[in-house]
């Protein structure tokens, strides 16, 4: 496709204009985080006795990875069944599940809080993981069902002839074949769980169980806005974001394909 020179210039101008807007907040945060004390700001945050940085990052990793593993397992298995082994009523069950995608977490705040409390899971990892699994599984189920719908039945039939049971077909044939899909749904769930704020806010009071989203708010609560405090706060926010940005940079491709697969096909 040929393009006029003037058109190229205009397009770059538009891109650069918006790029500057998008970079501005990030650049501001990074540059101001070095104000006054330089890297000292980062050291102060890491050594803060009230917020154990590595502990908090570990918590977030633990919660997000657990959620991802559970979600990928139950939704791939469910998607396999809904797609390749439909049974009486499976279509209705599937639609009833997908309907839950329209339920905002916030609308069920009270029962979520109360139910987790009733099970004695307040202040536990499991208490955060279970609701995250519940609310992330639906979109991933949709992705897996669509994905399996696109796989030819012959793969399964060939395995059946060899006498493989359905779970063997799932675990030995389909899953090794679906590594990109595992990555997509896994990374998507990971990022959504990492960024979740409301669920931990409802479930956790114990600071040793705080994920990064709750810990970040600790630094915001300091009201005094001396330049020193502002610099430290930026440093804290950057430290809290770095792990998820690294995960993003590594998994960019899968993350984007997951989002588009979910949206274009639904």
């Amino acid at each position: 496709m040929k393009r006029k020179m003037s058109m190229t210039v205009i397009m770059y101008a538009v891109l650069v204009f918006f790029l500057l807007i998008w970079i501005f907040p990030i650049w501001t945060a990074v540059s101001k985080s070095f104000n006054i004390n330089g890297f000292g700001n980062y050291a102060t945050v890491i050594n803060n006795p009230d917020v154990h940085y590595f502990r908090v990052v570990f918590n977030s990793f633990f919660i997000s990875i657990s959620t991802s593993v559970i979600v990928v397992f139950i939704t791939s298995l469910g998607g396999f069944s809904f797609s390749k082994m439909p049974f009486r009523g499976s279509k209705i069950i599937y639609l009833l599940l997908l309907a839950c995608m329209a339920v905002p977490v916030a609308s069920v705040t009270m029962p979520l809080f109360f139910t987790i409390k009733a099970f004695g899971l307040t202040n536990t990892y499991l208490g955060m993981i279970l609701p995250m699994v519940a609310f992330n599984a639906l979109q991933m189920l949709l992705l897996w069902k669509n994905y399996f719908d696109g796989l030819p039945d012959e793969i399964i039939e060939a395995a059946e002839v060899d006498g493989a049971g359905t779970f063997r077909i799932y675990s030995r044939i389909l899953m090794p074949l679906s590594v990109p899909m595992i990555a997509t749904t896994g990374v998507l769930t990971f990022v959504y769980s990492w960024n979740e704020y409301l669920i931990p806010l409802l479930i956790v009071r114990d600071e040793t169980k705080y994920p990064v989203t709750l810990a970040s708010t600790y630094f915001m609560e300091t009201r005094s806005q001396t330049p020193e405090m502002v610099a430290q706060m930026y440093a804290a926010l950057i430290l809290m974001t770095i792990p998820s940005v690294i995960v993003y940079l590594i998994s960019q491709r899968w993350l984007q394909s997951g989002i588009t697969a979910g949206a274009v096909k639904s």
Binding site: F24, P25, V57, I65, I74, M85, P86, L97, Q252
Partner: protein
Amino acid sequence: MTTAVKISDGRGQGLPRDPSQDNDKHLQAHGHHQRRGRWTRFQPVLYVLPVVILSGLFIYYCIAFTVWASFTNWDGLSDQMGFVGMKNYTKLLDPSSVFWVALRNTLIFLVVTVVIQAGLGLLLAVILKERMRGSNFFKAIFFLPISMAPVIIAAIFRIIMDPNVGSINEALRALHLGFLAQTWLGDPHIALFSICAINIFEWMGYSMVIYYAGLLSIPDEVYEAAKLDGAGFWTTLFKVTVPMLSGTTNTLIVLGIVGSLKTFDIVMLTTGGGPGRSTEFLATYLYKLGIQQFNGGLSAAVGVLVLVVAVVLSLGQMAVAKRSGN
């Protein structure tokens, strides 16, 4: 260091293997007795059970609980729930109720963010699809905020939008545009739109990536035909591209509806719903009623109304899309 080791552990493990083998034998044994010998009857059901229980039942239980609690004077903490009939609803739907303010703010937010995110996302996707030099870099930057927690983004913007030490006003003054400087989050007429701006910063890349994928699915022949007909850039955009992406746009609108109804983090951490109630959202109102004011029944009633709004808007949008699609 410990965390790094943890990641590779968690990733390397992948799916649990051990239960699979037990299941396998167990199910195969049953398989032999089956008439068709193909799929045993209960295996498919067994496979959907985990997701049905952990996700479906959990959410439907929460909904049922919310509906029931909305007819009671529950405080949100104790087991005591006295039936009060429609009292919570009459209170909420009273013309002077904060509910209407929260609903209005949420709807304004919905329209502003969906329109700008979709419009800007489409514009950038169209440009990026030309695959000019550096387009992957641009795409990555626009998409980056999605990997950052809304909490962090809200926190950054809270300082940037500060009227005195904030970088936005500093930059405006440096550009001799000081008269444009605002109390971004403190002025009741502006705060809601500042929150919209933060949301657009966070989610525009999402629309962009989805439109980008949609654009790739439009066959080149369509554009060649348009070119032969002598259509220019804008004509092609509005007469060919936009109509062909209507399915994608529809998806974005439905996602936007659910997204704005659950918008909580950004508001709570920037304005907290203020000044006054000028940025109160349904989600923040519901949270405050239930968790901070111990009014679980009333909070549950807001939850039910949020669900009703979600269903009505989503179905309405799908109906409109269906009619215009045919």
